[in-house]
Symmetry: C5
Subunit: 355 residues, 5 copies
């Protein structure tokens, strides 16, 4: 079970379009790296003055600019100016509490989507906002923190000349990045799902609050993921049907493939949600069965011994004129009565199928 921070609070009362960082934490210094490649060559460097990025706009190469850290409004504005990015988009990049979405602008597509993953060491979950600006021959990715899941992709770009990502260009690169993000969703859902499936056996066995807390915890996690996955699915559908000039004919099938993946993720989330609801019903029904069991036993014990105790009580009274007490065989007869009452009770409960 994870501890997602479900609702980050919104900034309020700010002038719209103001570039203000809204999020949990800040890195010290944002870091900008550039990967400039064509099918033949590749160049990587770290950029200090983002004003110099302008040169990449005019080349024929494909350029992937990655920015780690989105809390510095001056940096974002500078990059925004170089690439003519709308100020509302700039604001959205800095506001890391945004709902996933895609916007088609004239010169670029703007995509906001969360990355979610499990920290290998702490076994805790993390999430981070990824913003993509997809231009004609450049792609800018903004991440909240250093470190990402795109290193294998970078390796592929570095090592394999003439590979798809080197030849097909920016829209394929965007696809490859989103594919990794969505694969991470699927992986996280699988991890959660394994734990949820393991829970099943416990549900009918125990009647305690712990299992309920667990189910509820998973429900929250699943709802958290669902809230993320649903809007991503929405814009991926749009993307796979988009007629934007920025998406070439060759990339559309890949976008459809992406659609298959996110659809799969969404349906798994829904399946686990239903499973958890079924667990609650199961738990409830199991508790009700156990309740019947408990009370059946209580009733059987009470119904058998309470009459017997009463009879014993009668012969424990101290009446002076108490004819039975003097009888020679009173005591054996007394026991005979007790046993007959007990047998009668057994027959009664047997008939009721309680025994």
């Amino acid at each position: 079970m994870f501890q997602f921070n479900i609702f980050r609070k919104q900034s309020r009362g700010l002038a719209p379009g103001s570039r203000i960082f809204v999020g949990d934490q800040k890195m010290d210094v944002p870091r900008t790296t550039v990967m400039d490649f064509n099918p033949e060559d590749i160049q990587e460097k770290e950029i200090v003055d983002v004003a110099g990025l302008g040169e990449y706009k005019t080349t024929n190469n494909f350029t992937w600019i990655n920015v780690d850290g989105v809390h510095d409004p001056i940096l974002i504005e500078k990059i925004g100016n170089v690439f003519d990015i709308d100020s509302l988009v700039q604001e959205d990049i800095m506001n890391t509490t945004h709902r996933p979405k895609m916007e088609e602008h004239e010169d670029y597509l703007f995509i906001v989507m969360p990355m979610v993953w499990m920290d290998e060491k702490t076994r805790k979950e993390n999430s981070e906002q990824l913003s993509l600006i997809i231009g004609q021959n450049y792609l800018i990715s903004f991440q909240e923190k250093t470190g990402d899941f795109f290193e294998p992709l970078r390796e592929r770009i570095r090592k394999r000349k003439g590979s798809r990502v080197r030849t097909l260009g920016i829209d394929y690169l965007a696809y490859a990045i989103m594919d990794i993000v969505i694969d991470n969703y699927l992986h996280l859902i699988d991890l959660l799902g394994d734990q949820i499936e393991d829970l099943e056996d416990d549900v009918l066995d125990d009647v305690d609050n712990e299992i309920i807390s667990k189910i509820n915890g998973f429900k929250r996690d699943i709802n958290y993921l669902r809230k993320r996955v649903r809007p991503v699915r929405e814009f991926i559908i749009l993307l796979s049907k988009s007629e934007s000039d920025l998406l070439s004919h060759t990339t559309i099938p890949f976008m459809k493939d992406l659609h298959d993946h996110i659809q799969n993720a969404y349906e798994n989330v829904e399946t686990y949600r239903e499973m958890l609801t079924d667990y609650l019903t199961l738990y409830h029904t199991g508790a009700s069965t156990k309740l019947n069991d408990i009370l059946r036993i209580l009733t059987i014990f009470s119904a058998i011994f309470i009459p017997l105790t009463f009879i014993a009580g009668v012969y424990g009274t101290n009446f002076q004129y108490f004819p039975e007490l003097q009888l020679r065989y009173a005591y054996p007869i007394f026991w005979a009565v007790l046993i007959m009452v007990t047998i009668g009770m057994f027959i009664f409960f047997k008939r009721k199928k309680w025994l």
Copy 2:
């Protein structure tokens, strides 16, 4: 938990289109103020005779007319005549029980939406109806009471020459106003949400009616907000797709931004709604678990002591011929039997996993 007045009763049997104030309270005297500005200049004054407002229709300036108090039919009619406002619209302005909506008229857009907020002092919630008439170069806002949340916006208009609101005109002004209103929704939802999230720990702990009343109270509040937010979302979607001449090309992205906000508000409302439903299920399940717990203990006590009491009762009888009583070791044997019965019971319940 708030005490919204969920259903204000409707007026009935009136001739349609009659200008009659339908609402809770009246101010003494409505107050009309004008803010007339262009990128360079700005002028503010309070208007006594609304007939004089006609001059603002023909200027090139942007004019924001704000009316506090909507209970004076004559005033509304006068303003209506000056700006050619339909009599049905006039009626809608005065009827403060209206469902949020937008209407596109030939010369203006008409918007009705509620403002909801928490009173800083009393910590109680308030709501008030805001009506907007959005014309070519003028905007008229009608509020029920004096005092609003637009003061920071007015400050921005006053102080910042060349700021967006000064240059982009009336449609941007309308956006800025609605943005503030929707930010207030988000804020109120956040406040409610914090309280709802805090409730969670109590839900499984206590089994009493108080927690149920609380959950129910929150449910009402959330339903109240949902009833307000949903129709607002509906017309904001329309607005962001509108092809009205009154909305310039530059403002459309801002309307889309508004759409993002209200969508966010709506989804948070839905999430809290589901959370409350989950709480009820949790509570119910917790109560059922506790019931099992209680009855397990009752059954264990009863099942152990009732037979023992019976045995003691047997040896408390006063039969004259009672062989066991005379035996030398009857009493220790009696105890041995009691202990054996008890141990048997323990084993029985241990096997049933009740202990």
Copy 3:
């Protein structure tokens, strides 16, 4: 709580289009009145021979023909012949069990909608079917019984020369009639709603069947209203978008206004429906809380006194060789044990937070 007659049985096996009265009761003699007016003049009379109605078809005046009583097939047929009304429509007028609907015919609109109201004297609910034939310059209304809610409307027509209803014509008249009918829905929903809201406090307090019966009764009423209001809403939406020649440009905004009202009615019905469902959940949860309460007390009493009784029982046995009984301080020690057991129990239940 009302006693609506939810399902009136359908006629069956009749040749389609046959004019047969299907309904609960018959008036003795149907009554036909005519109100013929233009902005200047007005004339009212009661008609005996409906064949004479033909004259109103050709005048330039607006004519409102009202028929009280729809059980006379000959009358309906005669009127039908005069105004060229389709025989299927005639059948629909006589069949008072119809689902609300609107049909656009070539020369007229045909509307069927129920009127529902509360009898001021008996405080019981009534419903009656209203059929409207809306022609170019005439409107025919068919009602089941004498007496309606349109008297104030007639007064307005009579007294106010140049009023909207006198000048705007038949489609406005139709609007005014439907407005009154829908206002009555809203009023009835308000009445029901008040009672439903008052119920809330009782729900958590009492655990008896009476409150359940009440909730169920209200649910029926609300479902009854919903079944009526929903199809009315459907055709009012159509009406407000209709391009029929029979609706003039001026009347369309009024139809939209009507749409607002019926939408409001529908949403209130839905809100009360959800409220009643919440009540049932509340009741259930309250009952479950009380059950826990009851059983906690039972268990505490039993768990404390059953062991004590057992101990007392042991010392009530009549064993001859019973060493403790002879001890000097046996009785005080006996009491000390009892008190210690009791204290132990208290601590046990205190730890379980049952006390």
Copy 4:
């Protein structure tokens, strides 16, 4: 409550389009009758060799061919050849487990719908598949068994020259047949509904499994009807909007009328479904109320008498040194204590509002 045969098993592994009877029973010999009429004349005969049916294709008369029994593939194939009926349609006619549907073919419409009714004698329900081939001047109806509900319709055709069915032709005839079928749905729903409504009073009164079985039985019946009525509604909507040449302008209003009826049937089914769900909730709530009642009484009895019994037990011990027992007024004081404890308990339960 009825015993519908809910799922008839499908044939499997057959070559598609193979004409194989799939159904419950076979008649011995199928029977084919022809009714050939125009506004003036009418002719009826039973056909032995279906090859002779070809003559009816070319006449100007309207021809209604009725086939009782669909288990003879040779017959169906012969008829199919005469009227150029697709082999898939022929297969569908023989497979009586089909989902209701309509298909528009070039020369004819093909309709499959179930007839459901209650046997007047056995008070049991029956269902039978009706297939209609609606051509330009002929209509072929296929039924599983001899005997149907169309006799009154045949009488109307026979007796009334110039009646609608004689003049309006084949599409009106199809309407009239479907009208009878749907009227039977409504009738059956009414019958079921009456029984369901009668059930209400029992629901809160009794807590036994019998009422649950009844509710469940009705639920099955209602679901069965719903599964039939929903697809019929679907194709009737299509039919009322169809632009097929086979439906004349004059018949369209009748199809709309049909739509009203089936809509009504569908809504009644839905209403009864909801009613049954409400019953289950009611039952559950009633059971829970009774449970509280039972346990309140148990707790009151136990809580009052268990302490009393304990006190009596104390004074029943046989301690030798037992000071109270020797006191003169010990016994009356003992009673006083008992009475005080009882009164204390009464006050306790009174405060808890259990008494």
Copy 5:
């Protein structure tokens, strides 16, 4: 109840489009067979070198190529090269965890759908992925394992010259294959359904966890099937409306027939799902009824005997001054009191209708 492997885990972090087998098991050597036929002739052989398949592309015959085993990327790539199959499609063929889908490519349709069936011997369920490439004059089917349900279809191709499948070509062949797959769905649903229907009687009888586990097991199976059937239904709808050149006019009615079948399968799945939900409700209600029954008996026993025991206890006390004990008829009076109390209790419970 079956043990489907509900979620096979996805591969992750692979370069998209990489041909990697994702599935549970591998066969040793894939096997490729070819069936080449026209209305007159037929030829069958097993292929070793798939490169030779190229010849079938240019003939006028219809060619059905079947590949058993999809774990060999080289084989798949070779076939892919011969028939110009997109590399993403190749990947999809090897990934046997795919959601059912259809893709229209330029030269072929690509269909992925699961086959599900019950193993006749082990009575366990199996599932396997079937991929179809439907070209102009060839069809390639990929299956995970050797052995399928298409043998009767092959027999029909072999034996019946001029039969539909021999004359109508590839699209009809595709239909025939899918028809068999969907018939298997229906068969499996029928098998499950029979078991589910048989469960009904047990639901109300027993209150134990076993029945709950059973219901839950069936629910999983049904959900598993639903997850498969729903997307198949989706693409079959698309197929029956497709305007692809690869589907001839003659085959469209067969696709519509397929639509009927899968619709039927889907509705049966939904019906069984609802039935299982109803079972849970029934079980719950039955358990609640039994609980009431149990507690009624407990309460009756306790309420009758506890007061009696108390009275006996009183007369068992050893007070020295105890007037009643000395009375001559004390004991008979004592019994009279006991009997009267018992009768009183009986009357009390009779009035409450508990007896």
